[in-house]
Symmetry: C2
Amino acid sequence: MVSAGRPWTYAASGVDVDVRSKALSALLAGVRYRAPPDHGRVVSAPGHFAGLLRIGRETVAVTTDTVGTKVLLAERLGRWEEVGEDIVGVNVNDLAAMGARPAALVDTILCDRPDPAVFAGIGRGVNRGIRAARCALLGGETAVVPDLVRGIDLGGTAVGFFPRGRAPVTGARIRPGDRILGIPSHGVHANGFTLIRKLLEESSVDLAGARPGGTGPVGEELLRPTRIYTDVADALAARSEVHGLAHLSGGGVRNLVRLHPKVAFVLDTWPEPPGLFAWLQGLGRLSTEEMFQTFNMGIGFALVVSRVHLAETRRRIARAGAPDVVEIGHVERGSGVSLPALGIRYDGYA
Amino acid sequence: MVSAGRPWTYAASGVDVDVRSKALSALLAGVRYRAPPDHGRVVSAPGHFAGLLRIGRETVAVTTDTVGTKVLLAERLGRWEEVGEDIVGVNVNDLAAMGARPAALVDTILCDRPDPAVFAGIGRGVNRGIRAARCALLGGETAVVPDLVRGIDLGGTAVGFFPRGRAPVTGARIRPGDRILGIPSHGVHANGFTLIRKLLEESSVDLAGARPGGTGPVGEELLRPTRIYTDVADALAARSEVHGLAHLSGGGVRNLVRLHPKVAFVLDTWPEPPGLFAWLQGLGRLSTEEMFQTFNMGIGFALVVSRVHLAETRRRIARAGAPDVVEIGHVERGSGVSLPALGIRYDGYA
């Protein structure tokens, strides 16, 4: 734990990404079995947002994620629709980042006590999410495990596919000169909440009041559900001028590195982040470098596109539901992600 | 909490299936959206073991489940391979119950602290599981959420498919006169552990010692991984004489009702359950009725087959890896599941 007055980091809040990586490597070291090809063929897309699997004549994309500790804020506010919708958003946006069209979601709810009123709110939120993503809730698991979970955990797995004539968008076609477009987020989405909650606590923030410069209660501002980007990705993924797609969730702008290890993503026109982020940064005296690798900083989804027909691509994105798309940078020779105006550079994803 | 000397039930241990059902109904009441058909078509199989989805020319089956509180026994024994294997088993057996061939698994690990040694054990177990099920580990999520989880939760989602010429086995073709075959379990698998742990605690059972009539340490006996039935299901599912398949996990023999609501499953040749179950029953003074709806009671997977060519079907099952298959009952007109010799009858699944 850091002492008061010292700058916070995501690791200090209890989420040490390096330790998690080590544990994950230890797990994967034991997983060496390769299934025979008549049991479905894995399509290699290492480090990417979703796993790809060839089944007969179709390629399906599968991804799994949880809402994380944002549920503890939902619990405190007694509001469950937002995090219900997040179950969908955190997963289908990872499908969107492969150019896959979402088909179905299964949810996994772990709880210490199944409260029908809470579950009803979650259900309404899931419904909003699957409506935005145009997919089905195909099933789920509800486990009552009071000895394991305090409160409630919301997770899910999404399955998507590639309509006829569309291939997965992996980023392999990204090249120097490409432009990077960004679509704004709806606040912090579902990332960094272990840290956010510590900051709120340390500063005894009144969740029912507005932050300086904010309009509504800051609790509700933080709880806004993840913006769902699947319509944009679905409309653009089959086009040859779209070279890469990225969901900027946990890891922030570092997620761009997952698309291509051998180009440099230069974010030289990143827009001023919404005031919510500056306020959080101030609460925890966080470095700007820590902010950009922990939060989405105002942009939740990125598209790397050919500079040719750029204006037309932007119009297409606008028509698909994101008229607020902005240019956030370009691609150069090199590697990593940088924000030159802020003197920030990241070499890898995590 | 029940007082000492009173018979235990699964509900008294903290898992009230009725309350869970009410919460789940509240959730599902809010989920009304139906996706357009070009986003994948849901194939209706209500109440079944996995969700079915038509994508292009393929049908995929998706199911999600967790190992539950068996992980707390693993933690106490410091053994992680068994529950790692269970992540696979609890999921792929639900695919097997649809006649689907497993293609891939994604895991979700929630923990308070990622310990590389623990994760290495889990990885070795997952590897055993996917080898037995002949599928791939396609991805996963590792969340470090110390404010939400005590210890570690192991969950997963499995995706399967139907090879050319094979349709999902839903149980719709089951008819009076069919025979019910059962394949033995490897102990309690991953069900009922919230109750089991309470019984062990109440009786101060020494996990390192053998139970009366047992051979090895009872802790290890309880920890044995879920037997994986996918090879048998895969070899039999396309055959017209196979009318229904059931994974007897949580809910025990009640799972048979999920196959067909309008026939009676009469379990009149159920074999003597292994001594482990009688020992657990004695510890908690549980009723036999409670035992059969909480545990697998020695049979983990059931096949409902035509009585024609029964001997040949049994040989086929033996060749597919289960020479220990036994006849456990037959189908009559009526409804529900009964064990006539024990005077037990269940009307529904839960």
